[in-house]
C-alpha cells in the first residue's frame, strides 16, 4: 500500500542537496508549511555547499511561497551555503520578475546547470 506522496523529494549530488517539489500547485497553507519545515531542516542539518530547489513540476505558486523562499535564502546564507532555483516555467518566472525576486535569487535552467554553478568546497 502506498502512503501519501511526499511534497519534496531530496537527492544528493556530491555536496549539493537537490530538493524537487512534487506538486503542481503550491498554495495550501499546510502544504507551504510542510515544504518550509522540510527544506529548513535540510538547511540546518547536513554538510553541503549548495541547495537546489527544483520547480520543474510546479505549474503555479502563490505569494506565500515567495516568502518561504526568502526565509530559505536567509537560512542558506547563514550556513554559508549557496541557493539555486531551477526548472521554473515561464508563467511562474513572471511572478519572480514582477516582484523583482529574479534579482534576489539565482535562477538556473535546470538541475544540472544549477548544480554545476555551485562552487566546489
Amino acid at each position: 500500500m502506498s502512503g501519501p506522496k511526499p511534497k519534496i523529494v531530496v537527492e544528493y549530488r556530491g555536496n549539493v542537496a537537490v530538493a524537487t517539489f512534487t506538486d503542481e500547485k503550491i498554495l495550501d497553507e499546510s502544504h507551504i508549511k510542510a515544504i518550509e519545515e522540510s527544506v529548513c531542516s535540510l538547511v540546518k542539518q547536513g554538510d553541503y555547499t549548495g541547495l537546489v530547489l527544483d520547480f520543474s513540476n510546479v505549474e503555479f505558486l502563490s505569494s506565500a511561497v515567495l516568502g518561504i523562499l526568502i526565509r530559505i535564502l536567509a537560512g542558506t546564507k547563514r550556513k554559508g551555503a549557496h541557493l539555486r532555483l531551477c526548472g521554473i516555467n515561464e508563467k511562474v518566472y513572471d511572478i519572480f520578475k514582477i516582484t523583482r525576486l529574479n534579482k534576489v535569487f539565482d535562477i538556473c535552467l535546470d538541475v544540472q546547470q544549477a548544480v554545476e554553478s555551485i562552487p566546489v568546497g
Binding site: 498554495l27 495550501d28 497553507e29 503555479f60 502563490s62 505569494s63 506565500a64 515567495l66 516568502g67 518561504i68 526568502i70 526565509r71 535564502l73 536567509a74 508563467k91 511572478i95 514582477i98 516582484t99 523583482r100 525576486l101 534579482k103 534576489v104
Partner: protein
Amino acid sequence: MTAGKAVNRSLVLKSRLAEMRKASRRILAEARDSGFSCDDMFAIHLAVEEALVNAVKHGNGKDPEKKVKVEYSADPQKFEIAVEDEGRGFSPKDVPDPREEKNLYKASGRGLLLMQSFMDIVEYNTSGNRVHMVKYRSK
C-alpha cells in the same frame, strides 16, 4: 477559443483557509468551463487565491466567525470577482512596494502587487474591505 457558458454566483464563506481553498477550486472550475485561455486562467487563479487569503488572514484575522462574501461572474467578455471581508479594511496606498530595495527581502507583502499585475482592474471600496477585480478575456 470561443467563450463557454456564462456564470453568475454569490458565496458566503467562513474564514477558514480550507473553505477558501474549496471555493477557489469551484470558482476556477467554472471560469475554466467558461473557456478562458491558459494564460487568463493563470491570472484568475493567482488573483482569486491572493484575494481570498488576504480576506481571511488580514481582513478577518482568521476568525472563523467572520464571513467572506464572494460574488463572481464570467461572460464572453470577462471574468469578474468581488471579495469582501468583515474587517476594518485598509488603504492599498499604505502597502509598501515590495520591489523597493528596503522591502525586497521581506517575507510578505507581494499579494496586492501580483493581483494588480495579473488582473486588468483591481479596485477597493472606500474602507478597503472589498476588492473588485476584472480580467478581460484574451483574444
